[in-house]
């Protein structure tokens, strides 16, 4: 209970700090005025732009935490991460396609759908490759993921070069691909809230079976889990979560890796407490990272994905080193 209160408190403080941060720093009192409905321009800007952006960043972080937890649970590998396993790359390819190719349907619908298709396809491809090559272990899966991610990245770059023109500037796609939370309207934020809650509910349905799967395939089967079917279902659910995160936040590296780890230190490895705790930790990380991205080099904005990669890369190396030593 103390841990949940603590996580909630840290997230609240992070949200307030992030809402104050920017190239024009606001005070908490300014925020209060803006939320209370003050009509002055600065308050309107805070209310229409910064606050939705901060909340969106928190939701994207929460989704990344959930997605990372599901993938680590399915692959039973603490180094599994949507970004490394190609599913985020697949989502990005789908989303880039949606951004650059004029399609009949509205982009708000096409982008998440294509992002989902890409995330799911890439993950199934990685699982397939590692199964066929007989390398279902951690290293085999990661290598397959890295290879698939590289291919998808190259395809995406090709599309970006070949399809961008004056109507869709490369800059838009690039800034999004490098990771950047789009500032949503309040209606968009409502949609994101609903998506995040659905994703939390969806992954919580998997929690008990993720625990069983963690006993290893033989024991999981002996305890009554249909392992192959469950992995397929869980990968599908994980892809939905990753696609939602990518659709709203672009490619943000390492949060899906770090958040479940930190959460596991706090609440242990059982997935029922782990999933919501990872979501909270992910939300805290991305809220703060996004605040840094917006305020470190005013008036420019650093892509969010670069901030998390610079901070998260060393974290990954540390985990890898510790794992190789044991």
């Amino acid at each position: 209970m103390k841990i949940w209160l603590g996580l909630g408190l840290v997230l609240a403080v992070a949200l307030v700090v992030a809402a104050c941060a920017g190239h024009d720093w606001a005070s908490p009192a300014d925020l209060m005025r803006a939320v209370a409905g003050d009509m002055d321009l600065r308050s309107r800007l805070l209310f229409e732009w910064r606050i939705p952006r901060v909340l969106a960043a928190a939701f994207v972080g929460g989704l990344l935490g959930l997605g990372g937890t599901v993938f680590q649970g399915v692959f039973r590998n603490p180094l599994a991460e949507p970004y490394l396993l190609g599913s985020a790359g697949g989502a990005a390819l789908g989303a880039t396609f949606a951004l650059l190719v004029p399609l009949a349907a509205p982009q708000a619908l096409v982008l998440p759908l294509l992002a989902f298709a890409g995330a799911w396809g890439a993950t199934v491809l990685v699982i397939g490759i590692s199964r066929v090559s007989g390398a279902v272990d951690a290293a085999g899966m990661l290598l397959a993921g890295v290879a698939v991610a590289a291919i998808l990245g190259a395809l995406r770059s090709f599309f970006m070069l070949a399809l961008s023109d004056e109507t869709v500037s490369l800059q838009v796609v690039l800034s999004w691909v490098l990771g950047g939370v789009q500032t949503p309207t309040w209606a968009g934020l409502g949609l994101l809230t609903v998506i995040a809650i659905v994703c939390l509910g969806l992954t919580m349905l998997l929690a008990g079976r993720l625990d069983i799967l963690g006993l290893g395939e033989t024991m999981a089967t002996a305890f009554g889990l249909n392992v192959n079917r469950f992995i397929a279902v869980a990968v599908l659910a994980g892809s939905v979560v990753v696609a939602a995160a990518v659709a709203f936040g672009g490619l943000v590296a390492f949060v899906g890796l770090a958040a479940p780890h930190i959460a596991r230190w706090l609440v242990g490895p059982l997935h029922r407490p782990l999933l919501p705790a990872s979501a909270l930790v992910g939300a805290i990380i991305v809220t703060l990272a996004d605040a840094i991205a917006r305020s470190a080099l005013p008036p420019a904005e650093i892509p969010l994905g670069l901030v998390t990669a610079v901070a998260g890369g060393p974290f990954f190396i540390l985990l890898l080193a510790r794992r190789l030593r044991t």
Partner: protein
């Protein structure tokens, strides 16, 4: 009653025949040891009987149902399976592991988990993590997690192989005693334990059943010597016959 009957099991993988036309009938109440040299197919047979691996052909019946027609959950309640090697991916506590085992049960008595704790001397270990347990503690935790739903049939694959002698005796004795009112099938490496504790012994080699006899009869059988490729001296002791192997061409 839930005896297990297997007919004409064949399992081929990558060109190798792991099970070669195995048929056997296991009663609802008996203790059975499965012995044989390495690669005889003992573990594979157990996994197929437990429904964890599918055979290439042949069928397994449990009670009057086809094993393949049972749902995964029903199968997991009917058959407890104790693997040879178990290493959970996440560092769970003793309590969490036993509770995961209990989750597959239906309408378990409220004190089921507590009873396991008493029976397997786990009291006070509830909050200890798997990585901090000794080999003997791990074996007892695994037994508790598998037996907490009190499955009518238990298939155990050398669960005590790596334990010290006292814990090995404890585990083997507990498994054999279960055969008094349940079905208990155990792959045993130590032949003296197999013949000393179990009613019936199945001898396997190269994917086939070589002999399937009451323990007191098989122990004098020359097929034991030929199958293991050694000469056994049968040493008479007040507690029964002990086997001493001598490396000698037959």
């Amino acid at each position: 009653m839930t005896g297990i009957a297997a007919s004409n099991l064949v399992l081929k993988r990558n060109g190798a025949t792991l099970l070669d036309d195995v048929s056997l009938t296991l009663a609802a109440r008996e203790s059975v040891a499965v012995i044989g040299p390495n690669g005889a197919g003992k573990s594979t047979l157990l996994k197929v009987l437990a429904g964890i691996e599918a055979s290439t052909s042949g069928r397994v019946r449990i009670g009057d149902r086809d094993l393949a027609s049972l749902s995964s959950a029903a199968r997991a309640r009917a058959i407890g399976f104790l693997p040879q090697y178990f290493d959970p991916h996440w560092d769970l506590t003793v309590g969490e592991l036993v509770r995961l085992g209990a989750e597959r049960g239906e309408r378990l008595p409220e004190d089921a988990i507590e009873k396991m704790g008493d029976q397997f001397e786990l009291v006070g270990l509830g909050h200890r993590r798997w990585s901090t347990l000794s080999g003997g503690e791990r074996a007892r935790v695994l037994l508790a997690a598998v037996l907490v739903v009190d499955p009518p049939a238990l298939l155990a694959d050398e669960p005590a192989a790596s334990l010290d002698i006292r814990h090995r005796l404890d585990v083997i004795e507990a498994l054999a005693q279960r055969g008094r009112d349940r079905l208990s099938v155990v792959v045993v490496h130590d032949l003296d334990l197999a013949f000393g504790f179990f009613d019936r012994v199945i001898l396997m080699a190269r994917g086939r059943i070589v002999a399937d006899e009451p323990a007191h009869r098989l122990i004098d059988d020359p097929r034991l010597d030929t199958t293991f490729g050694v000469r056994f001296d049968r040493l008479k002791t007040p507690d029964g016959v002990l086997l001493r192997a001598t490396k000698e061409r037959l």
